[in-house]
Amino acid sequence: MQINNGLVYLIALPLAGAIILLLAGRLADKWGHIFATLMSASSFAVGLLQLSQMLARPAEERAVEQKLFEWISVGSFQVDAGLLLDQLSICFVLLITGVGTLIHIYSISYMSHDKDRRRFFAYLNLFIAAMLLLVLGNSFLNLYVGWEGVGLASYLLIGFWNQKPAYATASKKAFIMNRVGDMGLSFAIMIAFASLGTVSFSGVKEAVPQASTASLTAIGIMLLVAAVGKSAQFPLQAWLGDAMAGPTPVSALIHAATMVTAGVYLITRSNFIFDAAPTAQLLVVIVGAITLLFGAIIGTAKDDIKKALAASTMSQIGYMILGAGLGPVGYAFAIMHLITHGFFKAGMFLGAGSVMHGMDDEVNMRKYGNLRKFMPITFVTFGLGYLAILGVPPFAGFYSKDMIIETAFNAGGIKGILLGSAALLGAGLTAFYMTRVMILTFTGTPRWDEKADPHESPILMWLPMVILAIGSVTSGFLLSRGDALVHWLEPLFAEHGEHEELLKPIVVTSLALLMVAIGVAIAFLKYSRSEVSRTAPEDVSILTKIVRRDLLQDDFNEALFMRPGQALTSTLVKTDEIVIDGAVRGIGSAALSSAGALRASQTGFVRSYAALILIGAVALVAAIWVVTK
């Protein structure tokens, strides 16, 4: 494998930005945002340079490595801190730095009134650096460092406005739920070391054919747990909705385009493990299918525009996980959907931020309405993202999502039918809730609050939205033209034979479009023909109420984990107070009272002491006399 010593600059530039901005403090308030944006942009430039070099090489020599330093060297356990840039990582590098830079530019304007803007940009740069380390690490252990780094950046940014207690709680919730997944990743690394003796990607790949299926299944399941935590998949999905407490650019970058897709990256990167562990792979598709429906169902009842988009993100990542779980045939489609989703979802989040910017930070869609007249650019860019997520040809989502649905149908047998139907149903639900968002926000009559002053956002905000909208329109077509991305990623994945087709592609496409049309039609009937009330109606069915409570995900977690946990801790506290403290205090007071009793014998009279000595001496002599006699 070729050596390239330029890889480190990809990470070093944004990391330097973060460190300088955090250390410089208020000195950097004036120029910090521009500096951070430049750092992110130059990292993007390095990425483009790497891509051009990579394109110049033949397919089998495209991957390059860089060894940074010897990290851990204990007996037979050798881990180098090393970077690996191959066809898969370069997709992520360009997505992270490209979308990241656009969001930096957007944030310059979006955060301009915030006195802590410099700190915000420092965290953004920190996130970019950590995320790049995640996708560039050449071993599971290096990946883990980046994995924790993005968790930290996500925590810091969700709680960026931590003066509001609810936001601080949201960041803690995200961090703690992520910890569950992180435990999975650390277990996976430990099992890999114990059973395979190595943790580097190349080493594990070589060791897989000799490894037992049981240990590979264990690694696979633990990796899935990690992916489930980071990517907000069922059953660790509850944090993503609350993570919308962070500033909107954060939601766009971290909780839509990049960090939450790290789980998909992990599964795709570990494809050799999942290919050899069918049980783990089956669990992956099950998780994906459940989550894509779960997220879509939650999305139908959300009035908060950001939470609706968050539910949608959850659902779309479900599609990616589903694709990644389908084996070699699906990995490339998962990555394609990941990239197109990165464009259209980031674009829509930025659009939501633009709307909030004009509506006095109101997030309730029931208090929007008719905004297309006042925010034409936001409307058009959001609309293009909307068409892309629906999967309307020729927009980006059509190519990527359609391929996943098709591959799911072709998975074979009853499994294929179930997965394909779930994916189709998800497409219909997506059409419904996204149309609902569009109608409530941009059409109908105004239902604004008095303080709202809808106006188009400044150029620094709409320019990134326009660029992302262009991506939402074209990326799918460009990536799938002549199966460009599939062939690009081919060297990484195992060969896959031809699958028999359950349904012809044209039939699947027609079915998907039919579902989308039904979803859109229902949304129009329900929200466009009658007046939308400013408050959510209360006289709704029990099902609606459950969906509004996020399908009881929080109640479930509280009942199953939080309350028993609280009971356990309070029992432990009681035990500590009664048993441990009781024993310590008991010894103390026993010593005190026995000392009081003994003190009474000390009269202070010399003669009584003398008498006692005498009695003692006599007793001693008598004892000796008795014994020796």
Partner: protein, 99 residues
């Protein structure tokens, strides 16, 4: 004369001394009784030296006398000091240590 008789005298002297220490209140008398007990011990030492035909007991008696002399010096000094400060030589009055 039977050597055992000296031991009887020694035991008698010791008992008188011990009873005196326990029952008398005057510090001087208590002190004299302590001396009596020491001398009873000395007598026993010397007697045993005679019985066993060894000189060890006699040497021990000299040590006892030296110790007793020292004790008298220190003890009398303490008693005199207590008497000066408290105007009493009763051992029962000197019970400050009990609290």
């Amino acid at each position: 004369m039977n050597a055992a008789n000296y031991l009887y005298v020694s035991a008698l002297l010791f008992t008188i001394g011990a009873v005196g220490v326990v029952v008398r209140r005057n510090a001087i008398v208590v002190f004299m009784c302590v001396e009596l007990m020491l001398n009873a011990a000395n007598l026993a030492f010397v007697t045993f030296a005679r019985i066993n035909g060894s000189i060890d007991g006699q040497i021990m008696a000299f040590f006892t006398m030296v110790v007793a002399a020292c004790e008298v010096v220190v003890g009398l000094a303490i008693i005199v000091t207590i008497y000066r400060s408290r105007r009493s030589a009763s051992v029962d009055d000197a019970s400050l240590l009990k609290r």
